[in-house]
């Protein structure tokens, strides 16, 4: 570079050198020097460290080798298929040689053939011999187009190789033949091969031959006791395989130019997609299939038990307990829910009469319908017990809760002052891990003996409220006074709204009066009630504080665990829905405003339909996440006190109790229940794409 800079003779060189100088001598800011310095120091430090730490040294070598090797294979594959178009003979020879080398590695590397062993030369001998012999056949085939000569080359070459291999195999590996296995595998795999060829619209002979070869190989070698045979059985096991493959090669034709072009194009796709497919198969598909297989075996994966693991999941009292299903009819949320649904029905009939639709997005039927359904589901879920019921309860509550709250925050914060701050705060729990959040909430839910201070926020409030409502000191008086003032204010609002706007606007203050009034009556202990909050009255009339053990008192402890998930998931729903709302074209909203729509009408009739697909995405993502919920339950209760969920149960069975069969069955259950949702999600993505 220095020489370049100094030689300023020709004009063109001058421009080049100025350019370089500009690039090289560009003034660096101190900051850049600092980063550079730190970077160099870090790299040097790591190098020194890795030099002394054997662990890092060996790992670095492994990483470099792995990266270079996979990169090399990828580049090599591309280079190889570059030859297809114009150097077909070379391509064919190299491709066959590679297959030969692989065969050599498999046989020689596993010390199956004579002459293999420790050391460099024995190691490379097998692969080299394989590459040379296979490569020669490949080249010969590529050079000859005459069918008979090709058949001769294929049969002759493969017979020679088969003979050599079968003779070279160490006598400890000579297979004892099992004729039934050979025939069965050969026939079955030949049929499969033929079928596949037929499906690919090729002559089925090729597939049959290859399938038969594979079948013979598996039947003769896989189904036999190694070491029991002789050189003759080795020949019987090997030679037919070689001849079948040789025939298959012999009857094939060399590719013409058009076919080579097609191969060139197709190969690229395979090379690029290959690694991804390999990962998906290796890390996802094969483990899933294996899990399915394990779920049909017993706890030690030894004996076949069929569907017993699945039936045990459904018949186990801990998984599914429907015994007390009648309890739902007496549960409070169920009864209130039914009441609310009746209101929904009445409103629906009314709406049908006036607008023609009983239920419609944003019409007054919606709210009582949803609330009623939710309350009824609570009644059902608290009456039934078990892991599966808990999981369903989680899905309903967390999905509805986080989506509804996320949507509400997105709507109400939209374009208000402090929107960003509010959203940041709501979003923040997303940054906390589920385990971390669970530990935080453990403290929120903590309960202590009533003789000591309550350390959990909720119990401190609850017990404090109990003390206030059953006490008679100044604080109790102050609260009573405040409650009376609030009630008075609400009554005035009710009266104003009634006279000014009519019945519709009176609903909110009316409901609030009912709630606050109920609280007030219980607080002062009127009409035979004795106060609100955490307290307990002993038979002798003595009043003492009473805590709620949120984590342990079933069945609502489940709900308190779900609150944690909602706390985290709301931020996610809010961010996605908020972004979707901001993407709704303002023209629509302006048009609606000009037409005289109210804010709520704009939301229900314009914005909501526009973001409906996004809500769908949020709901399905949440469902998938909740189906797999594990961390919260693990940390809070580990499934005790009736809070078990499928994922934690799966972990417990498989890894704590080493009941692999049942663990696998539970894993499959989660997988199968998530599958339809994933399917619909993927379908939607494809439609949108």
């Amino acid at each position: 570079m220095q020489t370049l800079e100094r030689s300023d003779e020709s004009a063109s060189e001058e421009t080049v050198s100025t350019l370089r100088r500009n690039v090289l001598r560009r003034d660096r800011t101190p900051r850049e020097y600092l980063t550079l310095g730190v970077g160099v120091l870090v790299v040097l430090g790591l190098l020194v460290w890795s030099f002394f730490e054997s662990k890092i040294r060996t790992t670095s070598v492994t990483v470099v080798v792995a990266v270079v090797a996979s990169g090399g294979i990828w580049v090599g594959a591309n280079l190889l298929f570059d030859q297809v178009r114009d150097n077909y003979q070379r391509f064919n020879a190299i491709a066959y040689a590679i297959i030969g080398a692989v065969v050599g590695v498999l046989l020689h590397g596993n010390l199956i053939t004579v002459g293999s062993g420790e050391g460099f030369l024995p190691w490379v001998l097998g692969p080299l011999a394989g590459a040379a012999s296979f490569g020669a056949i490949g080249l010969a085939l590529a050079l000859n187009d005459d069918p008979q000569r090709r058949l001769a080359i294929g049969l002759g070459g493969s017979a020679a190789i088969g003979l050599v291999i079968s003779l070279l195999i160490r006598d400890v590996y000579y297979p004892g033949l099992d004729a039934v296995a050979i025939v069965a595998y050969t026939v079955v795999l030949a049929a499969i091969g033929g079928g596949l060829s037929y499906l690919r619209k090729r002559p089925p002979v090729g597939g049959v031959l290859l399938g038969a070869a594979l079948g013979w190989l598996i039947g003769a070698w896989g189904g036999a006791d190694l070491g029991e045979g002789s050189i003759a059985t080795s020949l019987v096991a090997t030679l037919p395989v070689a001849l079948l493959i040789g025939t298959r090669l012999g009857i094939s034709k060399n590719l013409d130019y058009a076919e080579r072009l097609a191969l060139d194009t197709r190969s690229r796709a395979t090379i690029f997609v290959g690694p991804a497919l390999l990962f998906i198969f290796g890390l996802l598909v094969i483990p899933a299939i294996r899990t399915a297989y394990l779920s049909l075996l017993d706890r030690d994966s030894q004996e076949w038990v069929g569907l017993e693991n699945y039936t045990s999941v459904f018949t186990d009292r801990d998984s599914l307990d429907l015994e007390n299903w009648t309890w739902m009819f007496t549960s409070v949320p169920f009864l209130i829910g039914i009441g609310v649904l009746v209101i929904a029905l009445i409103v629906g009939i009314q709406m049908r009469r006036t607008t023609g639709y009983a239920v419609e997005i944003g019409n007054p039927t919606m709210a009582p319908l949803i609330v009623g359904a939710l309350l009824v589901s609570f009644g059902v879920f608290t009456a039934l017990r078990g892991t599966i019921i808990n999981n369903m309860w989680w899905v309903v509550v967390v999905t509805f809760g986080s989506t509804a709250m996320g949507l509400a925050i997105a709507v109400f914060a939209d374009q208000r002052r402090g929107e960003r701050v509010a959203k940041s705060i709501v979003f923040m729990p997303m940054a906390i891990s589920l385990v971390g959040a669970s530990i935080i909430w453990r403290f929120v839910y903590a309960a202590r003996d009533i003789s000591t201070e309550q350390t959990g926020v909720l119990n401190a409030l609850w017990v404090g409220l109990g003390k206030l409502s059953t006490g008679s000191g100044l604080p109790t008086l102050i609260i009573t006074a405040v409650l009376i003032l609030i009630l008075l204010g609400l009554f005035m609002m009710l009266a104003y709204n009634l006279t000014r706007y009519g019945v519709g606007r009176a609903v909110v203050p009316g409901v609030l009066i009912l709630l606050v009034g109920w609280f007030f009556i219980r607080f002062i202990g009127a009409f035979g009630t004795v106060g609100v909050g955490g307290f307990k009255v002993a038979p002798d009339g003595e009043i003492s504080a009473q805590t709620v053990n949120f984590v342990q008192e079933g069945p609502y402890n489940n709900f308190w665990l779900m609150v944690i998930m909602i706390w985290i998931q709301t931020g996610f729903a809010m961010v996605i829905l908020s972004a979707a709302m901001k993407a709704v074209p303002t023209e629509f909203i302006e048009a609606a405003k000009i037409d005289g729509a109210t804010d709520s009408q704009i939301f229900w009739r314009v914005t909501l339909p526009q973001i409906a697909t996004t809500i769908g995405v949020v709901v399905t993502t949440t469902i998938v996440g909740v189906m797999k919920v594990y961390d919260i339950v693990k940390v809070m209760t580990n499934g005790q006190f009736g809070t078990q969920v499928l994922a934690n149960n799966m972990f417990q069975e498989a890894f704590s109790f080493t009941n692999i069969g049942k663990g696998a069955a539970l894993a499959m259950l989660i997988f199968l229940s998530v599958l339809p949702i994933m399917y619909s999600n993927i379908r939607r993505m494809q439609r949108e794409g």
Partner: protein
């Protein structure tokens, strides 16, 4: 490729490298070294290893040990106690305390990469490994050392189907009750000598209306319920004796048999609102380690918990110090028939290979010398006070232990019968599953004894 992209690529590679390094195995060197040592021995004939040990030189062999004990003091004391002994013999021991030992040992064994020795906190797991052929039989030398230093009850913990696989390395004493002798004296209570006296004492204290007799808490996060199982085990041992206990843990005696139900009922009857102070409101909501403060605060008189519980008392608490009126001490959880059985736990060392170096280390671990040295180093490391370590090896010099720890030792020495924590010997489905969860339900009053016992029995894997 632009410069910044190169940087990103480099950074990415480094991150991969570091992650891989973190996940990688740090036993490489050690295993290599010990393998080499082993190979050398084998190369020159089988007797050579023995002669190497006899001549006092292992040629720089390294023996790796893993185990669940992982405080700085534990790691330092295990390493130092072993290395001080083996340094002159040219052998290095590397102990790694593993927070996730239970899961990792499975992975290491399945991956064909186990340590040379591992400390097993559960005999059940050791038995699994022994039956699978992963851990090896002990040599005659090690067996002789165990016979010399350990009573039969402790030896049995490491015995699988009649063959010795485990070397007792640490003992936890569970059958003790923590109390304040000063307060007992002031309020006129005497240490009970029999289980009936104990029950009578509980009733007397409850009737007195002051502090509650017992502090009980069984909450322990994911393991909630285990202190309950300890009580049941202690009572099984007391009410029905060691033979029935052994039948019980092998399920020859079904879990729902009258004997077990009797033990469970005894616990339930003791754990009433009148008898128990639970700082978390209810017993199952009270963390097991939250019982130390109420004891010294005078909210309860007694707390039955293992010897390691000393660590949970507030700072400044003295132990078995007669000059301090508030001192905390222990008495033996009384028995019925005077045979003084103790419930214990602890660790067992077992080997994954037959190297002479490995066996030499096990042989030393079996001795009282090792226990003494470990205790001495641990006490020094912690700067005095209770170490939390205890060994039932016979022939230790008691002076390396603190007064309270000497108390533990004398209880262990007086015991004619010792049995390992039963829930650790049962299949995990029960011992770390239903025994905990059904026990918690029972304590919460959600089920009765018969139902709980029956459900535990149903969960016993066939």
């Amino acid at each position: 490729m632009s410069k910044s992209r190169w940087r990103k690529l480099l950074a990415l590679l480094m991150v991969f490298g570091l992650i891989a390094a973190a996940c990688g195995d740090d036993d490489d060197e050690a295993t290599d070294a010990s393998e080499e040592a082993g190979d050398d021995g084998e190369g020159d004939g089988d007797g050579d290893g023995e002669s190497a040990a006899a001549s006092g030189d292992f040629g720089g062999a390294v023996v790796t040990i893993t185990g669940p004990e992982r405080t700085d003091g534990d790691i330092a004391s295990i390493n130092d106690a072993l290395n001080q002994h083996f340094e002159p013999l040219n052998l290095t021991v590397e102990y790694t305390g593993d927070a996730d030992w239970e899961a990792n040992i499975n992975t290491q064994v399945e991956g064909g990469n186990p340590p040379d020795i591992s400390f097993f906190p559960q005999p059940g797991k050791l038995a699994d490994f022994a039956r699978a052929g992963s851990v090896v039989e002990l040599t005659d030398g090690v067996n002789a050392a165990i016979d010399e230093n350990w009573a039969e009850g402790y030896q049995l913990d490491g015995n699988v189907d009649g063959v010795q696989f485990g070397v007792p390395a640490k003992t936890d004493l569970k059958s003790i009750v923590w109390y304040q002798p000063g307060r007992f004296e002031a309020d006129g209570y005497a240490v009970p000598e029999t289980l009936d006296e104990f029950k009578a004492l509980v009733d007397e204290m409850a009737a007195a209306g002051g502090a509650k007799p017992l502090c009980v808490g069984i909450e322990s996060g994911q393991a909630t319920g285990w202190p309950f199982t300890d009580w049941i085990e202690d009572l099984m041992l007391r009410l029905h004796g060691p033979e029935v206990y052994d039948q019980w843990i092998s399920n020859e005696l079904p879990f729902d048999s009258p004997e077990v139900q009797e033990a469970m009922q005894t616990v339930v009857d003791l754990w009433t609102d009148e008898n128990v102070f639970a700082s978390g409101g209810t017993i199952s909501a009270t963390s097991f380690f939250d019982n130390a403060q109420p004891l010294v605060d005078g909210q309860c008189y007694m707390h039955r918990q293992a010897n390691f519980f000393a660590g949970f008392f507030p700072e400044g608490t003295t132990f078995a110090d007669d000059s301090d009126p508030d001192t905390v001490s222990v008495f033996y959880f009384p028995d019925v028939s005077g045979d003084r059985p103790v419930l214990t736990a602890g660790t067992l060392a077992a080997a994954f290979n037959e190297d002479p170096a490995t066996m030499a280390v096990l042989e030393y671990i079996a001795t009282s010398d090792y226990a003494e040295n470990r205790q001495r180093i641990l006490t020094e490391f912690l700067g005095g006070g209770l170490s939390g370590y205890l060994s039932a090896a016979q022939g230790q010099d008691p002076s390396v232990y603190q007064p309270l720890e000497q108390e533990f030792l004398s209880i262990l020495a007086d015991a004619e019968i010792s049995r390992f924590d039963g829930s650790d010997l049962m299949p995990a489905d029960v011992g770390a599953g239903t025994f905990w969860s059904e026990g918690t339900s029972l304590v919460n009053g959600d089920t009765d004894v018969a139902t709980a016992a029956q459900r535990i029995q149903e969960s016993w894997p066939s």
